[in-house]
């Protein structure tokens, strides 16, 4: 793993898009997290389905991977097919599957590490953080032609990280409490020493030098050890955006992927700006605003210094990238995203509303799973 070939950038189909979704496995009794990942994976293996479903750090999670797509239509179709396969397998085992960035009331002390060497190592290294890491994110992969393009894309997309957070925020509850955040998941991620953002570098060469330095210090062995919000993935060629909470539905996940793809199209084709150091100066503030307040949060634009409501900044961006979306065939989808910002509710709001109506987090988890599995939530 750790020889220099790892940092050889393998180019991938430019602007291709792929999605990873970390999902919650619930029991059907009280809708707490279950521990049946191994059985679920075994059953899925027998049944067969497109894409891939893999284990994650604890036995209460699985990760669903799409294949690589050129656009939204085939992506959403495939995600739905995988969802139906996972749902069917889960129901045969009397399990439920849910989206959302956090489970509303599970206790991290109940979690068990999925028994692979890597996950056992993570438990040994990070201690209780490994079990607390039972939070659920979506990753979007965007294909890049070369390493320099990947570094550029990662730098420019950093400015839009608050968008990604606010649009996907779906972890208002953790450990049985309302956190007051829209996305509390990222606070959990922030506890890891190698989380955060890509360093301010300008070329693949500079980036490789940074990586080698970290490796020589013995801090990392591979790119996998960085838990950055956005990271280049040299072995497959794409840039990976990792700040999303897993949305409540696969449809929403595909829409968010289409948004990143159109943005990337804009960045790589229109080359709108040079990377700006102030994006990183303001990074944590803007990120916090998005986590805490979602689309109602404030974003300070590093390029002009203006303060804007996050929702407005997203709408402005959508207008700017409309031609790119048109070129990718996702104009209608992103229009829909724009109107969803105006009309609401976001996933986090939906979850809070569910709690307000039902007054029970068990019900919230149940409705969360019914929604993800494509079943009608009984009595919302």
């Amino acid at each position: 793993m750790s020889d220099d070939r790892e940092m050889e950038f393998k180019s991938s189909a430019t602007l291709s898009v792929g999605v990873e979704l970390e999902l919650q496995i619930l029991n059907s009794r009280d809708h707490d997290l279950a521990r049946d990942a191994a059985d679920l994976l075994g059953m899925l293996e027998k049944a067969g389905h497109p894409g891939a479903v893999k284990p994650e750090i604890t036995e209460s999670m699985v990760e669903l991977n799409s294949s690589i797509h050129q656009g939204y239509d085939t992506l959403v179709a495939e995600l739905k097919t995988i969802r139906d396969a996972v749902t069917k397998a889960a129901e045969r085992l009397n399990l439920r599957i849910a989206g959302g960035g956090s489970h509303p009331f599970h206790q991290w002390t109940d979690r068990r590490i999925y028994p692979t060497e890597r996950f056992k190592h993570l438990l040994e290294l990070y201690g209780y953080l490994a079990k607390q890491f039972t939070v659920f994110g979506q990753h979007v992969h965007i294909g890049c032609p070369n390493g320099d393009a990947a570094v550029y894309l990662a730098q420019i997309l950093s400015r839009y990280v608050p968008h990604f957070i606010a649009l996907s925020a779906s972890s208002p509850f953790q450990q049985g409490e309302d956190t007051s955040y829209q996305s509390s998941r990222l606070n959990t991620v922030s506890a890891f020493p190698l989380s955060g953002q890509i360093p301010f570098v300008h070329s693949w060469e500079e980036f490789t030098a940074f990586f080698n330095k970290m490796r020589n210090f013995g801090i990392v062995e591979s790119m996998k050890d960085f838990y950055w919000d956005i990271r280049p993935k040299p072995e497959f060629g794409p840039v990976e955006v990792r700040v999303f909470d897993t949305p409540l539905t696969v449809e929403r996940a595909a829409v968010l992927a289409a948004y990143v793809q159109a943005l990337a199209h804009h960045v790589l084709n229109d080359r709108p700006a040079a990377p700006e150091r102030d994006v990183f100066t303001l990074y944590n503030y803007n990120r916090f605003q998005a986590c805490r307040y979602g689309l109602d949060g404030t974003l300070i634009d590093a390029y002009g210094g203006e303060r804007r409501k996050l929702a407005d900044d997203v709408l402005l961006t959508l207008a700017r990238i409309a031609p790119n979306a048109g070129a990718l065939g996702s104009a209608a989808v992103l229009n829909g995203l724009g109107s969803s910002i105006m009309s609401g509710p976001t996933d986090a709001q939906w979850l809070r509303q569910a709690y307000k109506e039902r007054k029970s987090l068990n019900d919230v988890a149940r409705m969360q799973s019914e929604r993800w599995m494509g079943r009608q939530p009984a009595v919302a």
Binding site: S28, D36, A38, N94, I113, K359
Partner: protein, 427 residues
Amino acid sequence: MIRPELRSVPDVRLVLQRRESRPTRPITMTSFLPTFPLPTNPLLLFGLLLLAGVVGGELAKRALRLPRVVGYVLTGLLLSGVGLFDAKIVRESWIFVDIALGLILFELGRRLDFSWFRRDPWLAATGVLESALSFALVLGALVYFDVRPIYAAVAASIAIATSPAVVMVVAQELKAEGQVTERALSLVAINSVIAYVTATMLLAWIHHEYHAGWTTVLLHPVYLLAGSLLLGYLASVSVVGLGRWLGKSERGHSVAALALVIVTVGLAKALELSVVLSLLAFGVLSRSLDKRHDLMPFEFGRIGEMFVVVLFVVGGATLRMDELVTGGTLALVFILARFVGKSIGVLALTYFSGVRRGAAGLLCLALTPMSGLAISMVQGTTSMYPEFGAHLAAIVLSAVLIMELVGPVAVQFALRRAGEAVEAENK
């Protein structure tokens, strides 16, 4: 059992005399002191049983590395072995057994998920097949060994049931969770229902055997089944309604459910209905009638645990080591036929449920325990026809004794081996 005593005139008089005698007793210097020997009372009994059980369970765990349940049973055996546990105390403490069984059967019923059976019909089929096969094989084997068919049939119906208490308690002790645990509990729920319904139907035969009138032969099983179901239904309507009225409160709901479980146990006894069937029906229906999800999920937790300890101590005390000798080979035949029947059923169909390899074998082990439920089924017949009960007890109870000790170990092994026990990990 109690009614004849109350009816007999001298007893009642005695009771009355005792009551009247108190105020008229001359006041002496020591009149505030208790008289010896101390009269037992249920509180003292419950506390002492609990205490003994806790110590016994812990010793079994520490010294023998056995599940605590085994320790509770051994404590009971020991207490009765040294003569501290006479028939009267067993009778008095039976109320705790009923409450404990009530709580366990209610929880088991709540786990019975019919929507799962729709999605995985093989699971339900497994439950029916293993029940049928264990009944058939035990019946056949006992008849082959010259047991009269009527005894053999009732014994075989008892053989169908796996002890819900043992499986639930061991699973809780190990904090086990996963497919083997969940499937084992569902199979237990299925076979408990089938066992009880079968045994109730066989009552008609027993009545006929003892020349009861035709009305009794026909109506008693019907009364038991329909009455218990109705009682369970009313209890679940009440708990759902009460839950809705109380609003979403886990504490409120568990107290309400606990109260209704005890009321239902009490009513079932007062109405001469079946505690087992009423509480199972209560559990199942309280889940399936709750379409709007008004009830919070709840557990009886510590309170349930207390009753369970006493359940096993008393259960152990009703069994006697010398029964092992009288039961002898017949007990082994019974156990073997039952195990083979259950195993064939489970091994034949579990594959189709699509669970991982090896799960079926572990399920066979997890279905072995017998305990309080079986004892209570034996007692059900004893109370009506003591002679029949005595015969039946001779066949069944020695097997129960063995399986009450071996069963928990088998369940513990199965759940650990399945990787579903928490303590198996890095704790």
